[in-house]
Structures are given as structure tokens and as C-alpha cells.
């Protein structure tokens, strides 16, 4: 085994379950060698509310993953979700400094710093600064604008920020296992990275990850994340609606949702009944199928409508050729893709993991954890590459001359 090999844990602390994956990272590629899963306790809508319970569950998942991998995790990439996450867009423009209007590294650095320099309210912290493509005199530049000629250089950042205490709580859950959190990846970016292709992201695509407590979404345009967001509504709310509407316990409602729930009403017969358990046990009851479908469909429609409203002008079907991709455990609700297609007036489909992911991890419930691992590795390698570039001798010498 190479000395450069590190074992990275990707952890998603979800409302219903906690998933931990172990990836063997050789510096070039990641191979998933272990997986651990545990029912979540002490987590509501993606936020830790009972530190001890959440710690126990997370650590149980990590221990299972380590046993499965037969290796010890070195550090962790943590998926982050929750209603406390928010985002805003800020852009900046600079005049190109050089007399010949050739854009230099210093111009790029300056405009990026300006675009990121927006102050946050007290108690908020940046989780991601997602850069949108540069513009040179209004012309879109998908890569670096260095050495291009123009008078004005523009760039914008979509900044995702969250509440400091909530972020710290999640991190401390991992630190309780004496593991360092190396990367924090918001769930929408993680799952979006997993279920959309580069081409789709280039053409525009909306990825919606419906979890148990939250729904995360990310809209891609021009190959980069354009807008992200979290709606504090998830699959658990479908269950809750059924529980209230049909006067059931949560366990019974969950059972009915999984067996008979639909995102679009299909049943036309008001008198069609379905059994709660269907095993002729004492206490088994019958419920109208149409009522179940109506309740779940109403909630699904409402949830997708909320996402659409949040996106506002950012989303336009004509600028989103990739359509809508649904993922997460909640996306398994039958007819959800058709429902999304109607709500967004765009083609919709259920997201699938890439072909290189093994069969046992292809369930939509694993997409966030998988994406956290792969997105985190990409971010880590990009940061280390940037660090190496920054430290090169020639660059330092050129800066020295530039400043004189």
C-alpha cells in the first residue's frame, strides 16, 4: 500500500438515517471499500438536537463502515443540510489594469476577492463560495480569463452560508469520534454532482434531493452550480400528513406511504380500500387508496411548488435543457418524476448513480454520501493544486518583479 493512500470517510447525518462510506484515496482515484448505515436519532430536519444520541448513531455508522472496510478512517468529509442553510449571489466588476487590456492573474484575484467580500450577519459562516463563470466585457468565459483582452472583468459568487452553532454541532459529532472534518459539502451539491452529468450541467439541470427531513436542490447552468437551496420539508412530512389525515401512528403511516403513496393520484375508485398490514392480524384496518394518494400527491406537488418558487427567475424551462433530476430516499415515491415534470414544465427523471458505483450503493438514499465523497475529493485536490501553484518559485519571482 502506498504511503500516500488515505482512507476518507464520507458521512451524511440525515433525519432518518446516517450513512458512512469509506473511500480509499490514492491521490488519483477513490475506491469505496466500506459502507455503514444506522437509523438516526437526535436529528430533526438535518440539525442535531440531541448531541449524545446523534453522536452514538453516527459513530455506530462509522464503526460499521470501518469494520466493513477493515481500515481506519483518517479524516471525514461531512454532508451538510438543514433549514439554516441559505445562499446569496454577489458579483463584482473590475477594470483591467494593464495598458494593453490583457487580463492578468492579479486582476482575477482582485475581482474574486471583491465578489466574495460581502459581510455575513452575526453568527453566520460561509460553507461554500461557488464561483459562476467569468465575463469579459459581457462575454462569458467558462475557464480562466487570464491573458484574454478586455476592459471589464466580472465574476459572481453564489455563497452558501449557515448558522455557526448548527455547523459546529455537526462537526463536533464527528470530532467526538476523534476524527477531523476535512471538507464540508452541502447535500444538494453532493447529490447533484452524483446524479447529473457534465453535459447536463453545461446545458442546465435542476437536481432535487428529497430526504426525510429536508429537500435540497441545486440548479446548474453553464457547467457550474447557479443556485442552491434547502426546503425544510421532506419525506417525513408525507408520513406526518398521512398520520394526521388518516389518524395513524407514524410507523403505520410510513408503512402506508411506502406501499401505496403516489405523487399523482391514479386511483379513480373512491371505494377501493387497502389493508394497513394485509396479514389478517387482529387490528388490521382498511383505508381508501384514493385518500392516501391524494394526501401524498398534494404534499409532493406542494413541495415541488415551493422549490420552484424559491428558484424564482433563476429557473426557466428553456434554459434548463437537462430538465429535473430527482434523488434521495423521497424520490422513490411513485410518479414523482411525472409530478415534477408538470410542476416545472420540463422533462424530469429519477437520478441514477454513475455506472462505476457498485450495485449495493445505487439506491437514491446513498447519493448524497457518495457525492460527498467524490465532490470532497475533487475540492481537496483542487485546493492542494492551487496551493502548489501558489507556492511555485517562478510565480513568486514574477510577483516580485510585478510589484516593483
Amino acid at each position: 500500500m502506498s504511503s500516500k493512500t488515505t482512507f476518507i470517510g464520507a458521512v451524511e447525518i440525515g433525519t432518518s438515517k446516517i450513512i458512512a462510506l469509506v473511500g480509499e484515496y490514492t491521490g488519483r482515484e477513490v475506491v469505496i471499500i466500506g459502507c455503514g448505515e444506522c437509523s438516526a436519532r437526535g436529528v430533526i430536519k438535518g440539525s442535531v438536537v440531541d448531541y449524545r444520541a446523534a453522536t452514538e448513531c453516527t459513530q455506530a455508522a462509522l464503526e460499521i463502515a470501518e469494520r466493513d472496510a477493515n481500515e481506519r478512517i483518517d479524516h471525514v468529509f461531512l454532508a451538510q443540510t438543514g433549514g439554516h442553510l441559505d445562499g446569496f449571489y454577489n458579483e463584482a466588476t473590475v477594470n483591467v489594469k494593464a495598458a494593453d487590456n490583457m487580463i492578468e492573474a492579479d486582476d482575477i484575484l482582485r475581482v474574486c476577492e471583491l465578489a466574495k467580500s460581502k459581510e455575513l450577519p452575526l453568527g453566520r459562516m460561509v460553507v461554500h463560495n461557488i464561483r459562476r463563470p467569468f465575463r469579459v466585457d459581457g462575454r462569458l468565459v467558462p475557464t480562466s480569463p487570464e491573458h484574454l483582452v478586455g476592459q471589464k472583468l466580472e465574476v459572481g459568487y453564489w455563497t452558501v452560508h449557515g448558522q455557526e452553532q448548527r455547523l459546529a454541532d455537526n462537526i463536533h459529532v464527528i470530532r467526538g469520534f476523534n476524527l477531523e472534518v476535512r471538507e464540508l459539502v452541502i447535500s444538494s451539491l453532493a447529490s447533484g454532482h452524483m446524479v447529473t452529468s457534465m453535459e447536463e450541467r453545461q446545458n442546465g439541470v435542476l437536481a432535487i434531493d428529497i430526504g426525510a427531513g429536508t429537500t435540497d436542490y441545486v440548479l446548474y447552468r453553464n457547467g457550474a452550480p447557479h443556485t442552491t437551496g434547502v426546503v425544510a420539508v421532506g419525506g417525513a412530512h408525507f408520513t406526518n400528513d398521512l398520520s394526521i389525515g388518516l389518524r395513524l401512528t407514524e410507523v403505520q403511516a410510513e408503512k402506508l406511504k411506502l406501499r401505496f403513496g403516489r405523487a399523482l393520484v391514479q386511483s379513480r375508485d373512491r371505494n377501493e380500500k387497502v389493508w394497513l398490514d394485509g396479514n389478517f392480524s387482529i387490528g388490521d384496518r382498511q383505508f381508501p387508496r384514493q385518500a392516501i394518494e391524494t394526501i401524498t400527491a398534494a404534499r409532493a406537488w406542494e413541495l415541488l411548488e415551493v422549490v420552484r418558487k424559491r428558484l424564482g427567475q433563476s429557473f426557466a424551462p428553456e434554459s434548463c435543457a437537462g430538465g429535473v433530476v430527482l434523488t434521495g430516499g423521497g424520490a422513490k415515491l411513485p410518479a414523482l418524476a411525472e409530478c415534477a415534470a408538470q410542476v416545472f414544465s420540463a422533462p424530469a427523471r429519477l437520478g441514477e448513480a454513475p455506472a462505476y458505483i457498485s450495485e449495493n450503493l445505487r439506491d437514491p438514499g446513498f447519493h448524497t454520501a457518495l457525492g460527498t465523497l467524490y465532490y470532497g475529493v475533487n475540492a481537496l485536490s483542487e485546493r492542494s493544486l492551487a496551493g502548489r501553484r501558489k507556492g511555485t518559485f517562478l510565480r513568486n519571482v514574477s510577483r516580485l518583479f510585478a510589484s516593483t
Binding site: T55, E56, Q59, E63, K97, D106, R110, E113, L114, K116, S117, K118, E119, L120, R124, M125, V126, V127, T159, H161, G162, E164, L167, A168, I171, H172, R175, G176, F177, N178, L179, E180, V181, L184, S403
Partner: protein, 332 residues
């Protein structure tokens, strides 16, 4: 615009959240991992300390008790010396040269020093010495072959005959057959210099060796008549002069083909086989021309010798009339 002028307040990022968690806030497994990490760190430190201690101990032992180390590698005494050579040097010479004490052990020998001693004899061109356990020292040498000889004198000491090899090295010549030595021509017109107790190689010997080898191989009858080979004009005129036993002086051009020159000489000697007009000088270094001078006949038995006649030849192996003085070159 410099970097300082547009320094902007950066928003706080999640990386500023301190990740230090006290052991109390950790789970049992977390604490176990913490302890394991601390133990690994401590073990690492201990290992480094142990290695350092061992190195210091070894250094101390070596410093305070130097012979302690060879004791561990002691071998048997040297029982025999084995010589492998392509020349004439023998076992006695080897024993005399190496001068290994009777109680020396095989591992106690300094092979580098022994090799220096062997190479100190200029007759040896290369040497390799190896230990063969349990008690044998094997010496493989390659010797120089003499092509000529000279009579050298150092200061006011007695003249000493030295043999000269093809590479110009002069050496005493141990173990050679006297008949072979007496058949070698003498060398004259050279300068001998001693540097660091050793004679410097004679320059131009390669050309002379080629001439002698060609003559010996192609015209042995002529070669056997050659008594003195002079290098006096080799460096200046590119000429090698040979004085034969019957007083003839032959000049060879060092840049000409030796075989052709010897062929001409052989023809001349055969053609001028007139005892009344013996050849006195033959100059073969003139390209296609050959300059020849003749002398008068030697006086008949009982007649007085004429002053212009060459001196009678000396018997083979006799010392020449000339000696070459050795200049001592002092190294600064």
C-alpha cells in the same frame, strides 16, 4: 494596485470552527482512538529514543574501546600466500614484498596497504588481493614485459641495470632469465627523473617498443645485431637511432612505417655485403630516400687499428660505456 490596498474583510468560513474537542465530550470509541493515537505517538518517540540510545552506545563503545569491534570479526592467522601472475615473479618475492607478520590474522590485514606494497614494485602493472577464509591471502598480479634495458646511476652510487617496459616504466627486473635480459638492446639518450621515490616513465618508449617488436618479428638477424637504441633525437626530430654491434648507426623515422624501413635496411645490408666497404651509417628517416655512408675495411689481424674504424663489439650482456644519471625531482 498592490495587494495591501484592496485588502477586504473576509467572511468567516466553517473552517474557523475549532475542531478541538475535550475527551469528556468524546464517546468511548473516540477516547479509545485518542488513547491509541497518543500511544502510537509515544511508541514512535520511544522508538526514536531507543535508536538514538543504541547509536550513542555504539559510538561510546567504539570511542572508549576501539579494539572491541575487530574482536567480533577475528579470523584465523594467515597460513598461506597464493600468487597468480602472468610474469616471472615468484612466491619468495611475494612474501618479501608483503612482509606479513607471522602472527597476523586474516581479518587483521589491511588489504589496501598490502596492495600498495605490491604496486610499489614497478614490475607490477596491476594487482588484486583477496582474503580466502580461513587463512589464505590470494594475490593476482599482472606484470610488465621488458623491451629494452638501460644502465642508470643515481648520484655517486654504483650504476644499476634497469629494464624498460613498453609504457616507459623502468624497473629492476626480478626473476628474469639472464640470457633473455642480455639479448635486450640498451637505451640511450633519455632522461630519468625520480619523483616520490619512483622513476618517471620514459617518454617515447612506445615508438621504440614498436620498432623493436617489428624488428624482432620480421628481421631477427638484424635485431640481434642491435646494441644501443638512442632516443636522443626522438622528441626533436622524430628519429630513433640504433647502433649495431658492428658499429653501424641506423636512423629510423618514428613517423614512417617501421616494416618498410627495416625491409630497406635488410636489403641494404644484404646488397652491401662487401667486407672492404662496411656500412657506417644508414638514414632511413628521409622518406623514399636512404642516405648511406660506407667506411673502410677493418684492419687485418696483426695490423694496428685505424682511428676512424669503429670500436670492436662488446660481448652480449656486457655493460655499455654510458650510464644515464637519474635526476631527483623534488615535489613541493
Amino acid at each position: 494596485m498592490s495587494r495591501d490596498t484592496h485588502a477586504l474583510p473576509e467572511a468567516r468560513t466553517w473552517r474557523e470552527i475549532p475542531q478541538e474537542v475535550g475527551p469528556r465530550a468524546m464517546s468511548g470509541e473516540g477516547r479509545r482512538r485518542l488513547v491509541m493515537r497518543a500511544m502510537r505517538f509515544t511508541m514512535g518517540l520511544l522508538a526514536i529514543a531507543l535508536v538514538g540510545l543504541a547509536a550513542w552506545g555504539a559510538f561510546s563503545v567504539l570511542r572508549e574501546n576501539p579494539p572491541a569491534l575487530p574482536l567480533a570479526a577475528r579470523a584465523d592467522r594467515v597460513r598461506s600466500l597464493v600468487l597468480a601472475t602472468d610474469g616471472v615473479l615468484d612466491q619468495k618475492w611475494l612474501a618479501r614484498t608483503l612482509a606479513i607478520p607471522a602472527d597476523a590474522t586474516l581479518m587483521g590485514l589491511d588489504l589496501g596497504k598490502l596492495r600498495e606494497r605490491v604496486m610499489g614494485d614497478p614490475q607490477v602493472s596491476s594487482a588484486a588481493i583477496v582474503r580466502n577464509f580461513p587463512g589464505t591471502v590470494s594475490v593476482s598480479i599482472s606484470e610488465r614485459s621488458p623491451v629494452a634495458r638501460l644502465m642508470a646511476q643515481s648520484g655517486s652510487g654504483a650504476p644499476q641495470m634497469l629494464l624498460v617496459a613498453r609504457d616507459g616504466e623502468a624497473f629492476a627486473g626480478t626473476g628474469y632469465d639472464p640470457a633473455m635480459v642480455s639479448s635486450l638492446p640498451w637505451i640511450d639518450g633519455v632522461r630519468l627523473t625520480r619523483t616520490r621515490g619512483r622513476l618517471a616513465p620514459i617518454e617515447g618508449m612506445k615508438a621504440v617498443a614498436d620498432l623493436l617488436a617489428t624488428a624482432k618479428l620480421e628481421a631477427d638477424n638484424l635485431y640481434r645485431q642491435w646494441q644501443v637504441v638512442s632516443l636522443a633525437h626522438l622528441s626533436s626530430d622524430g628519429e630513433i637511432e640504433v647502433l649495431t654491434k658492428d658499429g653501424m648507426k641506423v636512423t629510423f623515422g618514428a613517423s614512417e612505417d617501421y616494416l618498410r624501413q627495416i625491409g630497406r635496411l635488410d636489403l641494404l645490408v644484404d646488397e652491401s655485403n662487401d667486407p672492404t666497404r662496411p656500412l657506417r651509417t644508414v638514414n632511413l628517416a628521409l622518406g623514399s630516400q636512404v642516405a648511406v655512408s660506407y667506411g673502410t675495411a677493418a684492419p687485418m689481424l696483426g695490423e694496428p687499428a685505424a682511428g676512424s674504424l669503429p670500436e670492436p663489439a662488446k660481448p652480449a650482456g656486457a655493460a655499455p660505456d654510458f650510464t644515464i644519471h637519474i635526476d631527483s625531482h623534488r615535489e613541493l
